[in-house]
Amino acid sequence: MTSYLYEKDLVPQKYRILVANRHDALVRGIARELDIPVQELRKYLIEHLDMMLLENLPARAEMADAHADRDDPLARALGREKYTLYLKILPDVTMEHIFREVSDRVHAGSATEDALAYGRVRILEELRR
């Protein structure tokens, strides 16, 4: 989104949204899942998501838990729809690429947990890019 010269810095406001009880619990949960420091994830979210999306993150996460990837256990475990369509943390194309890699590993005989661990490392790489 275009930034305007006369606008104030929104980082402190976004940070306050993220440290509210439910938001904090959600961010810590994602950080645990992806094995990323909480501060780093917060910084990523502040830089990539707008204020309304940050406010709505817990509600979106609840909907993701209820509806995302219901027919595909592997995609659900990786968070394919959760991190793209619902939480909008990653672009669809990137996530699709990672999911294909994980899926290929499973089909090649790798253990599901190992493939998922690889997928999470790839997600982390994309977040840090």
């Binding site: 989104m1 275009t2 305007y4 606008e7 929104l10 406001q13 509210a20 009880n21 439910r22 707008d50 204020m51 309304m52 999306l53 406010e55 709505n56 817990p58 509600a59 979106r60 609840e62 909907m63 509806h67 369509l85 619902y86």
Partner: protein, 361 residues
């Protein structure tokens, strides 16, 4: 990669069509909106922080000050959450009176939302008619509770005051008048060719997008998602409540759902009055320690309170999830994207009945 856009349009924070300050930043290619973002922070109250550590008797008044338009439901959800924590039961007469106050509040909120929409699409005549109708509803709310807004009508274990028989008759007569006028105004909106040009097929929110953003209330029900917390509420279940929904997914559907819900509220109030049981209106009870998540159906959708209290009824932790958070997010990331005319941005935004006071809390 550098993005190219033709026009950046900042709307607000002060805008004649917005009831409250918010900045809507849009990017357009030609007339088509390609991205939008709502920027908050112009009226942050920090009310959750103020509530912490205070006794429920104080928090009850703070809760209804989250939003001036839907204050009754904030009062109701907070009190019913405390009742759930403390195991306090409500006398049947008080339960029906709560429904009456809540539905009157919903009626005035929906009429105000539809007024705002008509005003935004430059149909001021219909807008003024609706505002006049809302005043009649406000009068009834005042007659029942003693105040137009921040009524503090609902208390743990009951309601503050009973409805007098003569006031019940006046309410019935007023409902007849409001229903007659409402039918006419809803017809004007439904059949207006110019209104249809500005409303039909504009601001589409698909059911999938609505579900992903957890859109609630009339915004979701206009997209065919029949979620309504009243379905799970025991008093509404007794009244045979069935949610209203439409499948058009556009601005027109959202306004028509509100018209339909006003008519539905009238019938719910009539039924509540008709089945009003005799008896006490205050059962009493003591607020205790506990933790709960409680949701109620506000005019704009599901309102949720997360509360933790101590043995003296003091609020240790509280978080409020208002419906506007979800609806505004769905609006700026789904409904406004792809709108074919910049002129339709404000009307689409207003069609979701955004409440910035609720969102910023």
């Amino acid at each position: 990669m550098k993005r190219t856009v033709d026009v950046n349009i900042p709307l607000g924070p002060i805008h004649p069509c917005f009831k409250e300050p918010a900045r809507l930043k849009c990017e357009a290619k030609g007339e088509r909106i390609v991205s939008a973002e709502v920027e908050l922070g112009y009226m942050k109250k920090g009310i959750e922080r103020i509530m912490k550590g205070r006794p429920w008797q104080e928090v009850m008044f703070l809760a209804e000050r989250v939003c001036g338009i839907c204050s009754v439901i904030h009062n109701m959800v907070f009190i019913e959450a405390m009742e759930q924590i403390s195991g306090i039961s409500v006398p049947p007469r008080a339960a029906n009176l709560r429904v009456i106050a809540n539905e009157l509040d919903r009626m005035q909120s929906h009429l105000l939302a539809n007024f705002s929409y008509c005003y935004t699409i430059e149909h001021e005549t219909l807008g003024m008619y609706l505002l006049d109708l809302r005043e009649q509803v406000m009068d009834e709310l005042e007659r029942l509770t003693g105040a137009r807004v921040t009524c503090a009508y609902i208390i743990p274990g009951g309601v503050r005051c009973d409805i007098l028989p003569e006031n019940a008759e006046l309410l019935q007569a007023s409902l007849d008048r409001i229903e007659r006028d409402l039918r006419r105004y809803a017809g004007m909106f439904a059949d207006g060719p110019m209104i249809a040009l500005r409303s039909r097929g504009v601001g589409i929110l698909t059911p999938e997008a609505a579900q992903r953003a957890h859109a609630v209330g009339p915004t979701a029900r206009a997209s065919g998602i029949t979620i309504d917390c009243r379905v799970n509420h025991p008093t509404y279940q007794k009244l045979g409540f069935v949610p209203v929904s439409r499948t058009d997914c556009d601005n027109y559907a959202r306004i028509m759902v509100r018209f339909d819900e006003v008519a539905q509220s009238i019938s719910l109030i009539r039924k509540s009055l008709q089945d009003l049981p005799a008896g006490i209106i205050r059962g009493g009870g003591i607020c205790k320690a506990g933790e709960t998540r409680y949701s109620g159906e506000a005019p704009r959708g599901e309102l949720t309170y997360f509360i933790k209290s101590d043995e003296f009824g003091r609020i240790l932790e509280i978080q409020i999830q208002t419906p506007s958070i979800m609806n505004i997010e769905a609006c700026c990331h789904e409904m406004i994207i792809g709108v074919d005319s910049i002129a339709d941005v404000t009307s689409t935004f207003v069609s979701s009945d955004p409440c910035i006071a609720c969102t910023e809390r």
